[in-house]
């Protein structure tokens, strides 16, 4: 029997790796992948609590999170294609049209 806080610590560590990826990488596609990592960390937490409380609601929420991740990936990758068509780059530092 693994204590529940081990799962929470694993989720925290995965989430932090995702945060580092979002903050430091310049490739927009890798930034999207880091967001997927963070969503997975959230899912681990939800399922761990669902297991601990012996309730199914956490897993239902995890399914909604996965749905969100799919929608976000579709929209995000569509945006990247549109962006690449217009600016010929996927470098986050060169995408500064809205920068003041």
């Amino acid at each position: 029997m693994i204590p529940t806080h081990y799962y929470l610590l694993l989720g925290t560590a995965l989430f932090t790796v995702g945060v580092v990826g979002v903050l430091t990488r310049r490739n927009v596609i890798v930034i999207l992948m880091s967001i997927e990592l963070m969503l997975n960390a959230v899912n681990i937490n939800l399922v761990a609590f669902s297991h601990w409380f012996k309730e199914i609601d956490g897993q239902a929420f995890a399914i909604f999170v996965i749905t969100d991740a799919a929608a976000e990936a579709a929209i995000g990758l569509g945006l990247i294609i549109a962006l690449f068509r217009n600016k010929e780059t996927v470098n986050a530092d060169e995408i500064d049209l809205l920068k003041w």
Partner: protein, 169 residues
């Protein structure tokens, strides 16, 4: 003993491959490492007795979203970017901030660990499988959220088509 071994090896695999995801120069390698992470997380789901989510994770994430990523990487020319600097100028500050975040959250969870030694809520013995239980929850208690999620997917689908279209009339 066996659950501990399984948990720690799965966690180590998930964390190591997650770090590989954010450090690889080639985006295709990042996708491959992300698939390894997703499989490890699926294993963690299996350890938490969430068999349905284990299947959904593999079918939807690995089979769906990751293939989408690979397609886009092949559509977008990444050769120029692969030769450039991979990390932006604020990476040191970002790393320090993230370590502080990890320390705070880890400290909070570690301090609150005694709460998890309390006996968990009394569970009725399972009369149905995991998939059946989730289906009951989704289609009874979460009927409206499921409908909203399906609407969200529809909007995302239309949005993705419009984004990727060559020219709007």
């Amino acid at each position: 003993m066996l659950p501990q071994i399984a948990f720690f090896s799965l966690s180590a695999l998930a964390l190591a491959s997650a770090i590989m995801v954010i450090t690889r120069r080639n985006a295709v390698h990042s996708v491959i490492w992300l698939i390894v992470t997703l499989f490890s997380v699926a294993g963690i789901f299996l350890m938490l007795q969430a068999e349905f989510l284990f299947a959904v994770q593999i079918i939807l994430y690995v089979g769906g979203i990751m293939v989408l990523f690979l397609f886009v990487i092949m559509l977008v020319n990444l050769d120029v970017l692969a030769k450039q600097q991979q990390f932006n100028r604020q990476w040191a500050l970002a790393l320090v901030t993230a370590v502080i975040l990890l320390a705070e959250l880890g400290y909070g969870i570690y301090q609150g660990r005694s709460g998890f030694t309390l006996p968990p809520a009394a569970a009725s013995p399972p009369t149905q499988g995991n998939t059946q239980t989730i289906a009951m929850a989704l289609y009874q208690n979460y009927m409206l959220p499921v409908e909203i999620a399906s609407l969200l997917l529809l909007v995302a689908m239309i949005g993705a088509v419009i984004m990727a279209k060559r020219k709007l009339e």
